[in-house]
Symmetry: C2
Subunit: 326 residues, 2 copies
């Protein structure tokens, strides 16, 4: 088996979608796009792009939250980061959930059962507080336990609608909570927002298996030219509530955890978030952990993460141009 | 906003792919399939289906392992279930990884760096032991940290190839480890294997947010007619290694956990797997937990899970027909 068969290169001898031979040359046989190419309809410029650029122009920083693997706490980190950033009531924060098949944001922000309202100027995001709002497919489903059984193109269509239709208004930060992996949703958001994306925060846990997937995610960012704000390590050691021992590495790593990996890959490390069952409880109930447990060590960790993210955004603006850290 | 816009119905007034108006009627405007339909090439019967049926005919039980959310330990459960079932050396077990963008099976079975060999009769799975073998995109990648940046159709193509080309030989069990969610990979495997699938095991954790997604997964199985073998609850309470207290519910639930949810949804409950950091360590190192820690409580839990799964499969065969438990 030739290994290079599986890399993401264009098909060999592909004549290109705008060529006269599109869909007709020998190289087109068996290509999944042959049907589309052979229609001879030239690929028109994407008319949505201008509308999306217009919508996004009122948002200063667009930050995508990624993880290689699921269940590392990506939605938890997105949610608590959004809550923490919005503690300054002068700062407007939005949270966009592009995990189309597994939306969690309505639950984690305490907005279950809320609906999206439509006006002449667009879809209204759902507000958690005066300066924190969100959009998710979860607000558009008839029932919370209804599965969204959608293949890629339909998911991409909704992400496009979110970017084009949602009337965020003026925001300092838009956090974009992505599903795990490197597939349709990720490619769509990168292609639709392009250099307008401020950067990516990658969430990891100390497990080897999670770190393997984080390396892939960092390489994804490099391949698509997405600036890396940094890696944050979640579930970093567990303090037993009985004996108060900083205990049993819950998810052990033989490799020195996310910090060593980030350093080896030349990627900034944004810190650790320790395991605290109250983080999960707050997130399940739509509450801000930092507001509820301000003096706890994990609150300090969330505040530090928010500071580093906002410093990155400020630095970017001071420089007058987007800095690619990788 | 009309909520029903987001259900998975066919486009309104769609003339159907075999109609003369396919791709040309008014309803086709803006449909993502218009290009393919308008070529006028009728959709031929799927020639792969016979080849897939032939390949699969030597496999007695095909079990898909699902989870609503990522990171609930789906690959861990798949791997340790495969190890546990294969403790009887007379039973041949295969593990197929269809998590195309986040394959973990090469790592969890200790097979990193292994390659797939091709012969005249098909792709050879990689063997862990005499009676346990596996197939994953991880064996086909040039580097383990290379991201697989693929949209849906390309992922579906590889799953099809796995089912058509892999020479499993005679197997008692083929476990299929799916990515989280309900999208391309899930639809493809269900559509390609159809009633040949024995059933699904759904992995959950006690967290509310995980349970929400599990409900979706159960509803997915109901919608596509996939029999449910049952729900298993992973990470079920943590024993501190210092004070030996069955401690701090790590991921608490206000809803009585997966058992109550399964019962409410009329779905069998297959038991709990407690948190034990050694499960993660074994899985990160490609080792069988049950072989290494035979006398530990969690080993008893894995053995019980394997027994319930094999009982289900035996029961199915005794009945002479597939029983749909939902």
């Amino acid at each position: 088996m030739k290994k290079k068969l599986l890399t993401s290169e264009p098909p060999k001898n592909c004549p290109g979608t705008n060529s006269e031979d599109a869909g007709k040359s020998e190289a087109c046989q068996g290509c999944p796009n042959q049907g589309i190419c052979s229609t001879g309809i030239p690929v028109a410029p994407d008319s949505d792009m201008e509308a999306i650029r217009e919508r996004m122009s009122t948002i200063k920083n667009k930050i995508i939250i990624l993880s290689g693997k699921g269940g590392v706490g990506k939605s938890t980190v997105s949610t608590q980061l959004a809550f923490t950033l919005s503690r300054d009531k002068n700062i407007e924060v939005g949270l966009l959930d592009i995990d189309i098949c597994g939306p969690s944001i309505p639950l984690t922000l305490g907005l279950q059962g809320e609906q999206v309202h439509c006006s002449g100027s667009g879809w209204q995001p759902v507000f958690v507080s005066e300066n924190l709002c969100a959009m998710s497919i979860g607000f558009l489903l008839p029932r919370a336990d209804e599965p969204v059984i959608w293949r890629g193109p339909k998911k991409n269509g909704l992400i496009r609608q979110f970017l084009r239709e949602v009337e965020w208004g003026s925001l300092e930060y838009l956090l974009i909570d992505a599903p795990p992996g490197t597939s349709d949703e990720h490619l769509s958001i990168v292609q639709l927002l392009k250099e307008d994306l401020t950067g990516a925060v990658v969430v990891a846990t100390p497990q080897s298996i999670s770190l393997l997937d984080v390396r892939k995610e960092i390489n994804f960012c490099k391949k698509v030219g997405l600036p890396l704000i940094g890696v944050v390590e979640n579930m970093s050691g567990f303090v037993c509530q009985h004996c108060k021992q900083k205990s049993s590495e819950l998810f052990t790593s033989s490799e020195g955890g996310a910090e060593r990996m980030a350093s080896a890959m030349g990627c900034p490390f944004l810190g650790r978030i320790s395991v605290d069952p109250r983080v999960g409880r707050c997130t399940d109930s739509g509450l801000s952990y930092v507001d509820a447990y301000e003096d706890q060590p994990v609150a300090v960790q969330f505040l530090s993460l928010a500071k580093k993210v906002s410093d990155y955004c400020l630095g970017k603006k001071t420089c007058g141009q987007q800095e690619n850290l990788i």
